[in-house]
């Protein structure tokens, strides 16, 4: 396996469905962070076959709980002094704004660009969110 150095301090976003890392990178706006970020694609996984991993170095404040909306298999480990100090629990918030974009071309958000893209959780069991305007469905991985 490709070797990426261990983290002294930072966060490991693991068990991302293979191919999904760049999307997560974009959602978290990681390009704006002035820290080392490693994206590992198609890493071998016993559980998943293949998976993606993102490692972010250093202390920083980012709300990672919303990652559960996009991919419920993701795990987030917080590392300090080379040890996992916290396994962050991912959540499915009742409402999310700016995380999911409504792709329905008939939705009012398609012509009024300044409207926030807000989705509400309508089916927790099946992790289904719906656009608050047009009710289009979004289901995370």
């Amino acid at each position: 396996m490709l070797n990426i150095g261990g983290l002294n301090e930072g966060v490991v976003i693991d068990h991302i469905q293979a191919g999904g890392a760049m999307k997560i990178y974009e959602y978290l706006n990681l390009e704006k962070l002035d820290v080392s970020v490693a994206i590992i694609k198609n890493a071998r996984s016993n559980k998943m076959g293949k998976k993606d991993i993102i490692k972010i170095e250093g202390p920083f404040n980012l709300d990672l709980t919303v990652l559960g909306v996009l991919d419920h298999k993701i795990t987030v480990n917080v590392i300090k002094d080379n040890e996992i100090v916290k396994k962050q629990q991912l959540e499915l918030p009742e409402r999310v704004t700016g995380i999911i974009k409504c792709k329905n071309p008939r939705c009012i958000t398609s012509i009024e660009q300044e409207l926030p893209h807000t989705f509400k959780l309508t089916d927790r069991e099946n992790r289904i969110y719906r656009c608050i305007y047009c009710e289009s469905k979004f289901k995370g991985k």
Binding site: R106, C107, S110, L115, C131, E135
Partner: protein, 313 residues
């Protein structure tokens, strides 16, 4: 403040209250001739819909209120690029209540988020059209005397017809309602409606393409238009179109007490010879639509006797 964006925004009790109030108005319209004196309804129609707009305007005028508004996006500030949110903030200081029609889905929801007056969705694209559903329900309730224990046939384009979807969603809340869904295979109800509403609610329904066969079972026949452009090929359209045209010969299989509804406009799916059959009630339905809109406006303005939305006015 309460708005009406989707038919299911109303609880069953609220729905029944508005339908009953509509029936009271129907019986004694003169009693309600001045209940909205001094009130104004704004009709914000971003796309033309003459019937719906006039029905709203007639409803307000019948109660002594006044109306103002626009009937197409070209004649509104939308043509200058104003957002729905800004428009409604301005209109809020001109009128007491508004009805909005918009080609984009969710526009009335946006309006309701920024409005200081009740917003009624008068149709947002293919999404919701709650006052059409109220119109359908008051027609069934008035003519059949009930909304439960009914066999409802729905015929035509069940895939894209939002009035059909809304009516199914509203009717499944009543007990012992059975649906006969008559359409070509290409135009059957969408999967989510079949699975999430009918199957999940253990509702009795059948899907068929034979109108005549099930005609004797029906209490209500809800007709919709089968549009040529919905078919994948011309051959299918020609083969199937007549099966979904209601004419006098098909009407002879129907019960004596059965009613034919249609959201209108009708094109050729109901032959004009059916119009004189007393069971054809689609023009009466349009009339009932005014009464139910009167009841809705009255309730949202908090001018009804019971003030059912009083906490929110």
């Amino acid at each position: 403040m309460r708005h009406l964006i989707s038919p299911l925004d109303l609880s069953l009790e609220e729905m029944d209250y508005i339908l009953t109030l509509g029936q009271k108005i129907m019986e004694e319209p003169e009693k309600y001739a001045h209940v909205c004196d001094g009130k104004k309804l704004a009709t914000l129609f971003y796309e033309p819909s003459t019937r719906t707009r006039l029905s709203f305007e007639a409803a307000m005028l019948n109660m002594g209120g006044k109306v103002l508004g626009f009937s197409s996006a070209d004649s509104s500030s939308a043509a200058k690029g104003e957002s729905v949110a800004d428009t409604i903030r301005v209109i809020s200081s001109y009128a007491d209540i508004c009805a909005m029609r918009h080609p984009k889905e969710g526009a009335p929801t946006v309006a309701s988020m920024y409005s200081e007056i009740p917003v009624i969705n008068a149709g947002d694209g293919g999404h919701n059209h709650p006052t059409q559903t109220l119109t359908d329900l008051i027609t069934i309730k008035t003519l059949m005397g009930r909304l439960d224990n009914l066999t409802i046939g729905m015929c035509g384009d069940l895939k894209f017809g939002r009035t059909v979807h809304s009516l199914i969603n509203a009717m499944v809340r009543y007990t012992r309602v059975r649906f006969v869904l008559i359409s070509p295979k290409e135009l059957q109800i969408p999967e989510y409606l079949r699975k999430e509403v009918l199957d999940a609610g253990k509702i009795d329904y059948i899907e068929t393409n034979e109108l005549e066969k099930y005609m004797p079972d029906l209490d209500i026949l809800y007709m919709t238009r089968v549009q040529r452009e919905r078919f994948f090929n011309e051959e299918d359209y020609i083969r199937l179109k007549d099966s979904f045209i209601l004419d006098a010969s098909k009407m002879q299989y129907a019960k004596e007490k059965m009613y034919v509804l249609h959201p209108l406009p009708r094109v050729n799916e109901i032959s004009t010879e059916v119009d004189k059959d007393p069971r054809a009630v689609y023009f009466l339905q349009a009339k009932y639509g005014v009464y139910v809109r009167m009841a809705l406006i009255l309730s949202l303005l908090g001018l009804d006797e019971k003030k059912i939305f009083k906490d929110s006015v």
